[in-house]
């Protein structure tokens, strides 16, 4: 068994940089969103297509990032 069609891209989500990784494992697509800085995994999702898995990941990541409070420095 191999990971196939591995792809990574960085995008802006709710003012935060997010790294979105997706790939196919046999018939199932997997996606993972992480916050680029520092790089922690925000969520991991699956779907029947790359688009479905990525959309689920982005939705969940947006929910989590929306809770992040910025403080005055």
């Amino acid at each position: 068994m191999k990971i196939e069609e591995y792809h990574e891209r960085t995008l802006d989500l709710d003012g935060w940089k997010v790294n979105l990784t997706s790939y196919r494992l046999e018939t199932e697509w997997h996606a993972k969103a992480d916050n680029v800085s520092p790089g922690a995994t925000l969520c991991r999702t699956t779907g029947a297509s790359r688009e479905e898995a990525e959309q689920k990941a982005l939705k969940r990541a947006e929910e989590l990032l929306g809770r992040t409070r910025r403080h005055a420095v």
Binding site: H30, S37, P38, T41, T68, R69, R70
Partner: protein, 283 residues
């Protein structure tokens, strides 16, 4: 990899592909996201969960010697085993496991350069089944706390500039703009950094594919911030795993003699009553 001070502490994905199932080798995946292993892993690899198997689950601490011995024995590891550790987030918690293995004197521990990310990106074989493990008897050495910084040493370093403090969190955590990595729960009462610390985010030590930068690049990165090994170094982050990564870089790739990981990190310092806190960018 010959230019690193201790190149034997790293193996490539190619090496793991060829030797991962050798009888004297145990490959272990340690992820931040503990579900990742179940999705797919290096064939033959076992997993350790950082939040249940690599810490004391009652008090906040690393494993005791007895707990470490039980983990190794249950993992089929002997003191002579070549322990190869890898994980997600460019080996964050793999480095945490490496650090604890060194505290308890395991001789041959290595990180897989590039971690889980590189293995997957290269389209290598993966597995979902759990390997059969035959338990062993394992006797660890007493803890070597020369690798670990406790609060009093950090307070002294901050007050007397007796050691270089390296904050490896993101710049926004360092300044105090955010109290935790974006999207993760806040775990401290105050934001900012330990007075005197330099901001050198852990990820600057890595290439895009997750592998470590060259020794020359690393020396320049830390040297630019005055961290050259001339005096002791204390690395810290939020809970101690990202700083384990930097501890590994400084000690094993650059060969600094006196490097400690302050695993209390910001979740200790940022919750201390009356502790001095610096805000904003480093002076």
């Amino acid at each position: 990899m010959a230019e690193y001070a201790h190149p034997e502490a790293l193996v490539s994905t190619d090496w793991v592909s060829q030797h991962g199932k050798d009888p004297n080798v145990r490959v272990v995946e340690v992820d931040v996201d503990t579900k990742a292993y179940n999705e797919a892993h290096v064939p033959g690899a076992i997993a350790w969960a950082w939040n249940t198997q690599l810490c004391d689950t009652v008090r906040r601490d690393i494993l005791s010697q007895e707990q470490f011995e039980a983990l190794m024995a249950g993992s089929g590891v002997t003191p002579e085993t070549t322990l190869v550790i890898y994980g997600d987030n460019n080996n964050w918690f793999a480095a945490w496991a490496f650090w604890q293995a060194k505290i308890y004197g395991h001789k041959d521990v290595r990180l897989m350069n590039g971690g889980r990310k590189k293995w997957l990106a290269e389209g290598r074989d993966v597995a979902t089944e759990l390997p059969h493990v035959t338990p062993t008897a394992y006797h660890a050495k007493p803890a070597d706390f020369a690798l670990r910084a406790f609060l009093p040493a950090v307070q002294k370093a901050s007050a007397e500039h007796s050691a270089a403090l390296v904050d490896v969190r993101s710049p926004q955590e360092f300044t105090g703009e955010i109290l935790a990595p974006p999207g993760l729960p806040e775990t401290c009462q105050r934001g900012g950094h330990i007075p005197g610390a330099r901001s050198i985010p852990w990820g600057k030590a890595c290439n895009d594919d997750g592998t470590f930068k060259t020794a020359d690049e690393l020396r320049a990165l830390y040297g630019h911030e005055g961290v050259d090994g001339a005096k002791p170094v204390i690395a810290y982050c939020r809970i101690g795993e990202r700083s384990s990564h930097t501890w590994f870089v400084l000690k094993y790739l650059l060969g600094f003699d006196n490097v400690t990981n302050y695993d209390g990190s910001w979740t200790e310092w940022g919750n201390l009553v009356a502790a001095p806190v610096a805000k904003g960018a480093a002076a």
